[in-house]
Amino acid sequence: MRRWWLIGMFILFSALSMTAQTDTVVCSVRKPVLKGHSYHFGEKVGESPFLNSYLAGSIGLGNTGTMNIPGIIVGEQEILSFLGELTFFNAYLDYRQRVNDWLALFVTYQLVGRVGTDVPSILVDGLNSLSGGSIGWLFRVYHTDRFLLTGSLSLQNMSGSFFDIVGYINDLLDSVPDPQASQRIPVMNGGLGWKAAWTLNESVGFLTDGDIFYGESFVRGARDIYFSFGIAVDIDLKPEYNVPLGFNMGYTFSSLPQNTLMEFDHTNILSLRFVYTGSNDYDLGLQFSFYRYELDNIEVRRPWVRNTALNFRMYF
């Protein structure tokens, strides 16, 4: 159903584009441009404040590097201790439809997950994934020739699947009634956000964004507030050196579960994105992200996660 719904919305909003941009495009460049600087956006860091129509996607993989993870203590004996890695995967799809010069509608879908690379690490850390989407409005708040500020209202629907062997064994040892190894938890949140861009010159622009969500938690019976705040600098080498290459460097402080894969925790995400800037209609980038991750159930030093993602954005 979700797939058909997304396809249906895509077709309907594509039809809108026949009339949505008749007199608002100021030049043949479809990419967002502010005071001569053409902006390029990554995933999670420095989101677009522009009211353009586009389809964006990203697919990425990451890992923690080798970790020495202590096992489960039974009596005075430690079992399941191992050396291993955790792999992270993520896929993201974002469709934005411009309605007029002050309003756009967006629909997103994402899948993120974490899994051990071998049997012991799967046993110890389980297999966890979050999937779901959001739908919302993006509206212009303030606009000058160098600065653009937009706000957003959205509804986010996600579902978490958690397979936790350690928790299950601990529950068995603690005689917890009705212990379960796997859980599926649906959550829904409402969110408010803002995104802004400021152009220094044709080569350099700055981006910032923030979101706050309130709603259900992945811990049953609880409600929570999730937030995210990011800044980024966007550099385009094309105007100055005629080289079709750009960089986007950013930092995000986030407690969104899709970023942390954790409840009641936050993470600091550093990001560097290389982007091909030669086309006026699309951009294609390779994004490297680094963040620290806290392992549930296990008390070890927070490992760094290195994530590489290939992402595209097609404007129409």
């Binding site: 809108l16 026949m18 009339t19 309605v99 309003l103 509804l155 938890i185 649906p186 049953r220």
Partner: protein, 222 residues
């Protein structure tokens, strides 16, 4: 002064506003395809169930791009429930759950430059009228589940619409909407021993209707 007099006085005070405003009234009907989504007992599945709805609408044209619309309507939403007897067999459609509401949506339509296509967004307050389930393959008997359903719900709506003029005044509109309940449909702890605390209704609607401008305003609708 009694409550009725307050209401009457309020309505009288609003008359000049309505005389100046560009208003339109209409009727609409359509189909929806909804299901429950969220927690579900083991071996059960929620599937889409088509239903009907219909109502009236009162539109206020705020400016060339914005229209505010009040659209009270009767609707029936629900879900089909399937049950997997054996892991190797396909689930068997077991029951249909019907939730009838009277609903009061307030919707904002935002028109594109062409003036015919628009996107819409809003919220609706829904009061259940009757809730029951019927076993598939049974004798058609309806089993009331009103005690297990929340006393009201709030839905969020997103969608897209198209208006086409018919003659000099009438307009035909078609709208495709997505709706999502914000409040859990099932009252927690009322279905013993099954616990499904997070389950909500969501789905799509396709509505068709007619709009007729009220000719109080001096300006004609474009």
């Amino acid at each position: 002064m009694s409550g009725k007099r307050y209401v009457l006085t309020g309505l009288l005070l609003l008359v000049p506003f309505f005389l100046r405003a560009q208003m339109a009234v209409g009727v609409y009907t359509g189909i929806n395809n909804s299901k429950l989504r969220g927690d579900i007992p083991e071996k059960f599945y929620y599937l889409n169930l088509p239903n009907w709805d219909g109502g009236i609408r009162l539109d206020w044209k705020v400016n060339g791009q914005l229209t505010l619309s009040f659209q009270p309507y009767l609707t029936r939403k629900g879900t089909k429930v399937s049950y997997r007897v054996d892991p190797q067999l396909d689930p068997v459609d077991t029951a249909k759950i019907y939730l009838s509401f009277i609903s009061f949506p307030v919707i904002v339509d935002v028109f594109t430059q062409g003036g015919k296509w628009y996107v819409l967004g809003g919220a609706e307050l829904a009061k259940p009228l009757r809730s029951y389930y019927r076993l598939i393959g049974g004798e058609g008997e309806k089993y009331d589940i009103g005690d297990h359903v929340t006393s009201f719900n709030v839905y969020i709506l997103f969608g897209v619409g198209y208006r086409h003029s018919i003659g000099s005044k009438m307009k035909l509109f078609v709208e495709a909407r997505y709706f999502q309940a914000l409040i859990n449909t099932i009252l927690a702890g009322t279905i013993d021993p099954v616990e499904i605390p997070r389950v909500r209704s969501r789905g799509t609607q396709l509505e068709v209707g007619m709009l007729m401008p009220l000719s109080f305003g001096k300006e004609k609708e474009k």
